[in-house]
Amino acid sequence: MKKKSSIFTSQKFIVLLVVIVLFTFFSIVSPNFRQYSTMMSILNYSYYIVLMSIGVTFPLITGGVDLSIGTGLICYSLAGGYLITQKGWPVAAGLLVTVLLGVAIGVFNGVLVAFMDLPPFLTTLCTCMITRGLGSVFSKGLGISWPAANEAGGWFRSIFRITTANNTMIPIGFVLMVIIVALMAFVLNHTRIGRYTIAIGSNKEATRLSGVNVKFYHTMAYVISGFFAGLAAVAYSAVFATVQPGTGAGFELEAIGGAIIGGVSAAGGVGSVEGSFIGVFVICLLKTGLPFIGLQANWQQIITGLVLIGAVMVDIIKKKRVEVH
């Protein structure tokens, strides 16, 4: 009976192993990959996906999904950037707006799903369209360049990395991520929000009948997802600076894919923040590593697709075996 939990830990463990194997493989094959700077850039590129993936873990565990985080991210970043660059708002206020917009869309999704009983997939598909449109509406269709690091408002870009005088980079972003993961793992496992998130994914009606304010906590899962999409927007802006309207579709799939590789069940009830965190790195490593072994960008997509299917298939086969014995 205790076996089950050991499968869980081993699932995360397997994914971690995969990350290590991939990393070793790329390092051996490509000398350029082993450089410190490459690793730093892998980390830098991963932050926004990591953040989205942490957030989307919650709706996924409730048995739902949030497809609006990708286009949402761009939308929030455009809105915040627009206010800073075009309206002269202080950077801190712009960042706040970015995150708050994420929360607002999260509330919107949550209310539709939890209070109005709309299917999550469809709801967030709609908000995906809506945020895609809204982003362009906010910025009047313009691409936005957030302030550069050396400009007055550029301080926020060193939230995720500090470059020292002798040009070495300190990835404080990664430290931040680890802290956030630890924090959210605590939220998921040891607070009411997390407990009820799992409970809703496990059996929503039973949770309701236990006197839990299911609608509120169900909404919260989407709010968390939206909040993290907002944070991801900050990370994206800090790393890439330039944001273009009409993009962002597809980010959510990387985040969700990472979460699923990391052991979140698409049926709900099962999943962990730290698993999602590790899972994202499988995707990020593929994305960054494959070009180093000489594959053109298009191959990455095929391989990422196959890896995703593979991860789920392994899980299915494993489950089948458990059922038989």
């Binding site: 799992i198 039973a206 309701r208 009948l209 236990s210 006197g211 839990v212």
Partner: protein, 498 residues
């Protein structure tokens, strides 16, 4: 028995188009077990939902502990000490036992949930109930019976004064029911008011003090259990006496041909080396406790689950059945215990459900011959006396018994000679039950062979020509109806346990 703790008076509740509760009265005293009975749809569950705040009443009063009260949600009811142990198990499979028990009111230090304290408290509860369950176990790993115990522990942990059991025994084994009764008696001693909703007449007689009967949303009357007979209660429920005599001898001649022969069937833990024969025109009862492997055996024969080894012969011919398609080709039909999940397609019409298994016979070219389909469906609606306004009615709108008939029609239209009825009367009210029994007898008379899996001893004794008893995945005996008594069967069914 103490003073009255809860009184519901003149409760009225309407849904659009349905008058669900029509001025119903109900009361519970401290230290009594009060049965609430009635056919399906009589309004028992609705009444309890009104009590616990899931529904709001239209009129009437609820007096609890001497004060007029109205609970607005389950939470309020729980806090006041009125708790339901639900019919469907309301378990959160991915959480631990302790987490389940304290869901919605976790102990906390700051914002952190104190799981350790919850485990300790749960342990204390189980000790009080004399149950041995590890609070840190994941819920989905427990047996159904254990899960039910957790539900009860959860109810008690609310400092409950009134506990409502909504068909608690439906999923339990006989042994577990015994254990449940022990707990209920224990609770009665602790002066709790207990409402016990059940279909099983035997249990009512054993465990309850008073019986309140409802019919069609109205209050019929309240009796003291000791002073009435089963027939009294049934009469109140349906307004007619029901024939319930056990069969005394088999109607099947000794030399009737064997239509189905199963040899050394193995399929997982629940089906170990099962062999038996089924004769033409015979109703073969499958008895045993819940979890004895009867359903699993049926599903393995039908190809619904994979089997590891064993041979199946139909009319003497060895056949390979790897999936339900093969089984259907061999003329086997399977009526699942869980109609809604495994039997009917609720969003489809009666006609569409009826031809589900043999649609290929109702094709003209590429297209479905809807006329022929309708005709045959109508034919069977008539012969099975299915109550439906038309065959174009969606099955979801039919009552349980009629849904069951639609499933039977499906197999008859396919001309199945071997029918497996898995708990054919579960969740069906008494009147409809009788019709299903008659139908089964008629089918057997017409030469169909039936395997009937049932957990109700009376049903087994009344219907079967022969009885196979299973226990823990093994066949433990085969009894001719002439020799069958409750004791004999129970003995076989529990042989391995003790």
């Amino acid at each position: 028995m103490g003073d009255v703790i809860l009184t519901m008076k003149d409760i009225d509740k309407s849904f659009p188009g349905v008058h669900a509760l029509d001025h119903v009265n109900f009361e519970v005293k401290r230290g009594e077990v009060h049965a609430l009975m009635g056919e399906n749809g009589a309004g028992k569950s609705t009444l309890m939902k009104v009590l616990t705040g899931i529904y709001t009443k239209d009129s009437g009063t609820i007096t609890y502990e001497g004060k007029e009260t109205e609970f607005h949600n389950t939470r309020e009811a729980q806090d006041a000490g009125v708790v339901i142990v639900h019919q469907e198990l309301n378990m959160l499979g991915h959480l631990t036992v302790a987490q389940n028990i304290f869901i919605g009111r976790e102990f906390k230090t700051g914002i952190r949930i104190d799981d350790k304290k919850m485990n300790d408290e749960a342990k204390k509860l189980f000790d009080r109930l004399h149950i041995d369950i590890d609070p840190t176990e994941t819920m989905s790993n427990l047996t159904v019976g254990k899960q039910q115990m957790c539900e009860i522990a959860k109810a008690i942990s609310h400092e409950a004064k009134v506990i409502i059991f909504d068909e608690p025994s439906a999923a339990l084994t006989e042994a577990e029911i015994e254990e449940l009764f022990k707990i209920i008696r224990d609770l009665r001693k602790q002066n709790l008011g207990i409402v016990y909703i059940s279909h099983r007449m035997d249990e009512i007689k054993v465990i309850t003090d008073r019986v309140t009967v409802m019919r069609d949303g109205t209050y019929v009357g309240t009796l003291i259990t000791n002073e009435c007979t089963k027939d009294d209660i049934i009469n109140m429920m349906v307004g007619r006496v029901i024939y319930e005599d056990p069969k005394t001898e088999s109607a099947v001649p000794e030399n009737a041909p064997v239509v189905l022969k199963v040899e050394h069937l193995h399929a997982g833990k629940m089906v170990q080396d099962v062999s038996f024969e089924l004769r033409k025109g015979e109703i073969l009862g499958f008895s045993g406790l819940m979890g004895a492997g009867r359903t699993e055996t049926a599903r393995a024969i039908f190809g619904a689950d994979p089997k590891e080894s064993g041979d199946i012969y139909i009319n003497g011919q060895k056949v390979t059945i790897n999936n339900p398609q093969d089984a259907v080709k061999c003329g086997i039909g399977y009526l699942s215990e869980d109609r809604k999940r495994y039997g009917i397609v609720v969003q489809k019409t009666v006609a569409e459900n009826s031809t589900m298994a043999c649609l290929e016979n109702y094709m003209s070219g590429l297209f479905i011959n809807k006329k022929a389909e309708k005709k045959v469906a109508e034919e069977y609606v008539e012969s099975l006396a299915t109550k439906t306004p038309s065959v174009e009615q969606l099955v979801v709108n039919l009552s349980g018994g009629n849904q069951q008939k639609v499933v039977i029609a499906k197999w008859l239209i396919n001309d199945c000679d071997i029918l497996i009825f898995d708990e054919p009367t579960r969740g069906i009210d008494v009147g409809a039950k009788n019709e299903i029994y008659k139908l089964m007898s008629r089918l057997a008379d017409e030469g169909k062979s039936i395997i009937m899996i049932s957990s109700e001893m009376t049903e087994i004794l009344r219907m079967s020509d022969r009885i196979v008893v299973m226990c823990e995945g093994r066949k433990t005996g085969e009894v001719k109806i002439e020799e069958a008594t409750q004791e004999v069967i129970m003995n076989l069914a529990t042989r391995d346990i003790n």
